[in-house]
């Protein structure tokens, strides 16, 4: 019996099997976003060739992956995009695509839909001014909404994906209203992480205490949509939360009981593939510390089963935690939130300051945490610098 592809069931959790994969088809991009974590723009030096791409698709089918999201760069700049969608779809895999939406026309959407694409997500990072400041390309905001309109007209589920940072954190309500008007069914929200080019702009990264207002605003938006019976779901990404009174409304799904963050799933039920064949436990993880092997040299199944770099979350315990996360009420389940966010911010996993519960506890103590930029990123895709974390009195 077919179940929603990305729902995790007991069998998935007990066996650590890949349910969801995000595949960067190419790092080539027609935009050069100033906060891009992968520093996309040009192709990687050695991207998988045509035969290797189709073989990778076949391996994803063979491993029993239930949904694959194709990303870039821009996935639509890859010459085999339609073939990949078709192979995956025919193999029983649900296929979705995330795009910056700059050049997605009717012909492309028809071809994608015909090949079996189920949903298209468009990255929209604020109202026009903030979005275009981040994209570094004029006209990109309007193009996003044209993509949404074409996708809807052709019968795709359309979603939007927003990275929240200091340029757009004050306009979330207005942005939500625009997205509702554009027919967006699900709005995934997540924080901009200081990785890649975003690591070069520490002034754009939210401070940990700002998460209080951000989460409360997002929860208000969701409650308002529920009250008005709007088909609009705010979907908390992995690096936003955790565990406060707003957690259930931002993380629960239609038809299911209230739920909460259950820890990073990297290498347990998810994996990420980079365009040159590198496999990681999650597409967002920085490359160097989490490179589990390359598909040019070893099969996806072997990497999944044997690479330590993918297995870090399978058998760990709270001894990995440090800082405030080490003594947290939720520590054994949360395990310091999103691994890639913690690693790229503080240099290692185990301590995640972007947490509503933690910021609220600190506020009750009259304190707040601030990040101080300490080290630049080297300038390669999926790289990161380092921040230091300091506590200061809550003003006023």
């Amino acid at each position: 019996m077919k179940k929603p592809a990305r729902r995790l069931f007991r069998d998935d959790l007990e066996r650590d099997r890949p349910v969801y994969a995000v595949w960067e088809l190419t790092l080539a991009c027609d935009q050069a976003c100033r906060h891009c974590g992968s520093r996309a723009g040009s192709s990687r030096a050695q991207e998988l060739d045509a035969e290797q791409v189709l073989d990778t698709a076949a391996q994803l089918v063979g491993l029993g992956v239930r949904e694959v999201t194709l990303i870039g760069g821009e996935a639509y700049l890859h010459p085999q995009l339609i073939d990949v969608v078709r192979v995956l779809h025919h193999g029983g895999v649900r296929v979705t695509m995330q795009t910056g939406g700059r050049r997605v026309g009717l012909a492309l959407v028809k071809a994608l839909k015909g090949a079996g694409l189920a949903a298209i997500g468009v990255s929209i990072d604020g109202l026009r001014e903030a979005h275009e400041e981040l994209r570094a390309v004029p006209g990109g905001w309007d193009a996003c909404f044209r993509t949404l309109a074409v996708g809807r007209a052709e019968g795709l589920i359309v979603t939007a994906n927003t990275q929240i940072n200091r340029l757009n954190m004050g306009e979330l309500r207005e942005l939500a209203a625009v997205l509702q008007g554009a027919g967006v069914r699900v709005w995934q929200v997540q924080l901009t992480v200081p990785m890649g080019r975003a690591a070069d702009r520490p002034d754009w990264i939210v401070q940990p205490w700002m998460i209080l207002d951000i989460v409360e605003t997002l929860a208000d938006i969701q409650r308002d949509a529920i009250a008005r019976e709007l088909p609009f779901e705010v979907f908390a990404g992995n690096n936003i939360g955790y565990f406060g009174p707003h957690e259930a409304v931002l993380r629960s799904r239609p038809g299911l009981p209230p739920t909460h963050w259950n820890g990073c799933r990297a290498g347990q039920q998810v994996l990420g593939i980079e365009a040159d064949g590198v496999v990681k436990g999650c597409p967002s993880l920085p490359t160097a510390p989490y490179d589990g092997g390359n598909l040019r040299e070893v099969s996806l199944e072997q990497i999944w089963q044997h690479a330590d770099e993918l297995a870090f979350a399978r058998d760990r315990d709270t001894s990995e935690l440090w800082g405030r996360c080490a003594g947290c009420y939720y520590a054994p389940t949360c395990m310091a939130g999103c691994s890639f966010t913690a690693h790229c911010t503080l240099g290692k996993r185990g301590n995640q300051p972007f947490c509503w519960y933690r910021a609220d506890q600190l506020r009750r103590e009259g304190l707040r945490e601030v990040l101080v930029h300490a080290e630049d990123a080297p300038g390669t895709p999926f790289d990161f610098g380092r921040f230091e974390l300091r506590e200061e009195p809550w003003p006023g």
């Binding site: 019996m1 077919k2 179940k3 929603p4 990305r6 729902r7 995790l8 069931f9 007991r10 959790l13 650590d16 969801y20 995000v22 999201t69 990303i71 979705t96 995330q98 298209i120 997500g121 589920i157 979603t159 994906n161 069914r185 699900v186 995934q188 997540q190 969701q222 529920i226 009250a227 979907f235 908390a236 990404g237 992995n238 009174p245 707003h246 957690e247 259930a248 409304v249 993380r251 629960s252 799904r253 239609p254 038809g255 299911l256 009981p257 209230p258 739920t259 909460h260 259950n262 820890g263 799933r265 039920q269 998810v270 597409p283 967002s284 009420y329 939720y330 054994p332 389940t333 519960y357």
Partner: protein
């Protein structure tokens, strides 16, 4: 891997252990049961549908990652008018919440977890 599940506090909606220990959000020690969990869900602004109670180690949760959010629940694979979040067999158009139940045939046709009604 077993994951400890928390229950939404009926007093403040903060997730807490179900053992009657202090809620980390409001300090409440009220014992959490099905009715109070439903109350917490309503407090959080959620419609209470499906069964109410702790899941089994994350059972039923959706994977969230950078990329397209989970939308598979909005699909109707068998075209019977019910999306996969409410259709207990979304590959069979004869099985959905409004289907006629044939008692004793070994199939839960109307998705009520029972073959007899």
């Amino acid at each position: 891997m077993s994951i400890e599940r928390f229950i939404a506090c009926p007093e403040c909606a903060t997730f807490r252990r179900a053992d009657g220990s202090d809620c980390p959000g409001c300090g409440s020690t009220r014992v959490v049961g099905k009715v109070s969990v439903a109350a917490a869900a309503l407090m959080a602004g959620l419609a209470v549908t499906g069964c109410i109670g702790p899941g089994g180690g994350g059972d039923g949760d959706a994977v969230a990652l950078y990329g397209v959010p989970d939308t598979s629940v909005f699909e109707d694979n068998d075209g019977d008018g019910y999306n996969s979040d409410e259709d207990c067999d979304d590959d069979d158009p004869d099985i959905h919440p409004d289907a006629e139940e044939i008692a004793g045939d070994g199939v839960d046709s109307n998705c009520n977890d029972d073959d007899d009604t």
